[in-house]
């Protein structure tokens, strides 16, 4: 039991930040804390099921499921979207530009189909490789690659159309 506690403490300290960031990037901070707590509670209760060599993908997958469950069961989607639009200010020197860039980027990203958006976020935000990210969302690597490819293509097209629209306004 002491060994379990020691292992869990090391697991918690090593991966708390990654799971908290994962959740906070997808919802408000209060729910992110709940999701993180629930994820580690599941890990504590099912410690035997947590891979000893590489626990992070398992934790990501659990957090992914917990978050989806929370959002679905509490019907918080609409409120979540409202919260997502209220982004935290950047620490960049030019805050106004940074916020505008971030808002534009977020709008473009939010316009993508959910699965494609999630694929892009896992690769770019969590810096996961394709195989690991596929495990997190529970699909094959091939399927994940397709989602990633389509997401990138769709995002590039959307960004280009926005740029053209801005240029038309300016000219």
């Amino acid at each position: 039991m002491d060994g379990d506690r020691a292992y869990f403490e090391s697991l918690y300290r090593e991966h708390y930040g990654a799971i908290m960031r994962f959740a906070a990037r997808r919802t408000d901070q209060q729910l992110a804390r709940d999701v993180t707590a629930e994820t580690f509670l599941v890990a504590w209760r099912r410690l035997d099921a947590v891979p000893r060599s590489n626990a992070l993908p398992w934790l990501y997958a659990t957090a992914h499921n917990v978050l989806r469950h929370e959002l679905r069961s509490r019907s918080r989607r609409s409120r979540l979207d409202a919260r997502l639009s209220a982004l935290l200010p950047s620490t960049n020197a030019d805050i106004a530009d940074a916020v505008v860039d971030r808002m534009h980027a977020r709008q473009l990203l939010n316009a993508l189909p959910e699965k494609e958006r999630e694929a892009l976020q896992l690769v770019e935000w969590e810096a996961l490789d394709v195989v690991t990210a596929a495990r997190v969302v529970g699909c094959s690597a091939a399927t994940f690659r397709v989602r990633l490819h389509r997401g990138r293509r769709r995002l590039a097209a959307a960004a280009k159309s926005v740029q053209l629209a801005v240029e038309e306004v300016r000219s």
Partner: protein
């Protein structure tokens, strides 16, 4: 901008955020709560089930609200009936034990609260072998309570009006003045027992419940709530409330104050 740049630009949380679990304000507290939670034996998954009561303060015309949920559990602890060694006067759980049980209860009922982190343990008591905790939190802007009492055979749930005072459960402060109306303590069936839960005013330090079968039961009082149970199906006949100085408020006779909405029983 290429797609990768756009996605990174949309990232609302820096890669360095929350890097140190012990440095984060709630990181260590969350860890302690998790460690205090019950582990699961995969070979005996039924142990996950506990008796729990939960209520919410949805306002309805009668002042009480509908049933929320009940979680069934075994009726005996170690083969001993819950009523064994029942005591009319409860033993107050030490703060650490009460907090531990409250955390466990909050985790079991987490889906019924906005946030487990904001749930507080209002009352923790022991009568005989039964330890009971009453937790208080919020859900969608309304006060809600939950009760875990391992050892009582059945569980059921009903709802009570919220305790008067500020809405945040972390700062629950019952009204300074004593009631001028009868207390809104409601009794619920729990197998062969009855459980009573209700809000009390801040200056009330002691609550005594008299039942229709002549039991005199001292309730546990804390954070604006009181809790009691007794090993019979008798109703509340009267509630007596006392201030710190020992003064007794005008006793409230029941059934005048029993809730209009009949509590329902869940297995």
């Amino acid at each position: 901008m290429n797609p990768s740049t756009i996605v990174r630009a949309a990232n609302p949380v820096a890669d360095t955020a929350f890097a140190d679990a012990w440095g984060d304000a709630e990181g260590r507290a969350t860890f302690e709560r998790i460690i205090g939670a019950e582990r699961v034996s995969q070979s005996r998954p039924h142990l996950l089930r506990h008796r729990a009561l939960i209520g919410t303060s949805v306002a309805v015309a009668a002042g009480t609200a509908a049933v929320v949920v009940g979680i069934p559990g075994p009726g005996h602890e170690g083969g001993t009936p819950a009523s064994a060694a029942w005591a009319a006067v409860p033993t107050r759980l030490d703060p650490h034990t009460a907090q531990q049980l409250g955390t466990r209860c909050a985790n079991q009922l987490r889906q019924y609260f906005d946030s487990v982190n904001s749930v507080i343990t209002a009352v923790g008591e022991q009568r005989g072998k039964v330890r009971a905790v009453l937790i208080v939190g919020r859900f969608d802007g309304r006060s809600r309570w939950g009760l875990c009492a391992p050892g009582l055979k059945e569980s059921l749930a009903s709802a009570l009006p919220p305790p008067p005072g500020p809405s945040a459960p972390s700062s629950i402060q019952p009204p300074r003045s004593s009631r001028t109306t009868a207390p809104a303590i409601a009794a619920f069936h729990a197998g062969p027992a009855r459980i009573a839960v209700g809000p009390v005013a801040a200056d009330i330090k002691r609550v005594v419940i008299e039942t229709t079968d002549a039991l005199v039961v001292t309730a546990s009082v804390g954070h604006g709530y009181c809790l009691a149970w007794w090993p019979s199906s008798a109703d509340i006949r009267a509630v007596r409330e006392y201030t710190a100085s020992g003064g007794e408020l005008h006793p409230a006779n029941y059934p005048d104050t029993t809730p209009a909405v009949a509590p329902s029983t869940h297995r």
